[in-house]
């Protein structure tokens, strides 16, 4: 593995922050080396300074995308931390449907949900599975489930709805797997009835949210932990503007909005905390 020099750490940390908002600790040289080293090698470059210049010279080209795919931590699993999914089932969906049904009088009940750092799609499909088991018939609803992520590779996998045996073993009960996935060769694919309510696209949380509309529920779990405090403030302030007035924000179970965003107030249901607009 090619070693990274101290001045390159500063250069690359700044560059990574600029393109993704992700804060890379310069003390963790191994992280730069293990994640970016392979790109340096496969691009036929000899050091990290060259990688930086090559990526900068052509921001629309492959190198920047490769760097983003490599630096983003895609750790995720189906039904990660069961709390939010119980919350969705027991509290949020019943409340939202009550509120929305009264207004729609027989027409399809609209529901817009955004998984704003969806990684390879497990959170989106977990939400969709909860909705399917709760609502049975999607025809009575106009469900739009949007998954976005900064990594092209993650978005592509999410969109394919295909998972290998290691991914499938994490968080999925056997009967859920059999009900909602089909085995095809060595991988499992989410069924069309679930895939059909989801849309995926690339979105950098640091950039403006254009043309997404407003959401009833936003999931923004375990992504802001990779941002600096200043960037966290920016992101959650922007997310507040993406929620309908009675909408719900769900963040990671170990995250806090205290001192981050005064637009939200926490509320508690069972073992979960969620946020509503003040």
């Amino acid at each position: 593995m090619i070693k990274i020099k101290p001045e390159e750490l500063t250069l690359l940390a700044q560059y990574i922050h600029n393109i993704s908002g992700i804060f890379y600790d310069q003390k963790k040289a191994y992280l730069f080396e293990s994640r970016l080293g392979p790109i340096v090698e496969e691009s036929g470059l000899s050091n990290y300074t060259e990688l930086y210049h090559k990526a900068k010279a052509n921001p629309k080209k492959g190198i920047e995308k490769k760097i983003i795919d490599a630096i983003s931590t895609n750790e995720t699993l189906f039904f990660r931390d069961t709390g939010p999914f119980d919350l969705l089932k027991q509290k949020i969906m019943p409340d939202l449907i009550d509120a929305r049904s009264a207004k729609t009088a027989g027409r399809q009940v609209p529901l817009k949900i955004w998984s704003s750092a969806c990684s390879t799609g497990q959170e989106v499909y977990s939400i969709a599975i909860v909705l399917k088991e709760l609502l049975f018939d999607f025809k009575k609803y106009n469900i739009k489930l949007l998954g976005t992520d900064i990594s092209d590779a993650a978005v592509a996998q999410a969109s394919s709805g295909k998972y290998n045996k290691f991914e499938i073993e994490r968080g999925l009960a056997r009967n859920t797997l059999q009900k909602f996935f089909t085995l095809n060769g060595g991988s499992w694919k989410i069924k069309d009835e679930i895939r059909g309510v989801a849309t995926f696209k690339k979105q950098n949380l640091m950039l403006p949210f254009n043309g997404l509309g407003k959401f009833d529920i936003i999931f923004c779990r375990n992504v802001a932990i990779y941002f600096s405090m200043a960037d966290r403030k920016k992101v959650f302030n922007k997310l507040a503007d993406m929620l309908v007035p009675d909408g719900y924000l769900i963040i990671g179970s170990t995250e806090s909005l205290t001192g981050v965003c005064p637009k939200f107030v926490p509320e508690r249901h069972m073992r979960s905390v969620y946020y509503k607009l003040k």
Partner: protein
């Protein structure tokens, strides 16, 4: 010290006994089945890390049937290695598409078999390690979450109190 539990399935007694002898010598925990039918019965009641099965067997259940049974009962946790005659590579490829871990051609080479098992063994160790890490992370996360959520609610309560007082 090999901890893999292996099921050897072959209708040919000499192959079956040879494999059993080789594997036991390496300290694997070995069971055998004389045909696909018996193997399916064993798989439905027990967990095996590896199933080493002949592809062509008489009696209605062949190696692919054994593979299906392992996949259905234990998902991807059981690794299935097919043993094929020289001429049936195409069938082996079909099996790989259906999720078999690997295939070996007859006559089986001792060292080749051991290398495959070593690979499976280290992969299982990696998976266990990842699982342990995950468990450690989950426990840490749950503890931290309870503390943070309590604080979050408490601060919010105090803030409300302050703004009412102001």
């Amino acid at each position: 010290m090999n901890s893999l539990k292996i099921l050897v399935v072959d209708d040919d007694p000499s192959t079956r006994l040879l494999l059993k002898k080789w594997l036991e010598k390496e300290d694997f925990d070995v069971e055998t089945a004389v045909n696909g039918m018996e193997a399916v019965g064993l798989i439905s009641g027990h967990y095996y890390d590896v199933v080493l099965t002949d592809l062509m067997m008489p009696g209605g259940v062949d190696g692919l049937g054994v593979l299906d049974a392992a996949r259905e009962t234990h998902g991807g946790r059981t690794e299935v290695i097919l043993i094929t005659a020289f001429a049936s590579v195409e069938n082996a490829v079909v099996a790989m598409r259906k999720g078999a871990a690997d295939y070996l051609q007859k006559p089986i080479n001792h060292d080749e078999l051991m290398l495959r098992l070593e690979k499976i063994s280290s992969m299982k160790a990696l998976i266990k390690n990842a699982g342990d890490l995950r468990e450690a992370m989950d426990v840490t996360e749950q503890n931290a979450a309870a503390t943070i959520q309590n604080l979050e609610m408490e601060i919010s309560r105090l803030n409300k109190k302050l703004s009412v007082g102001a």
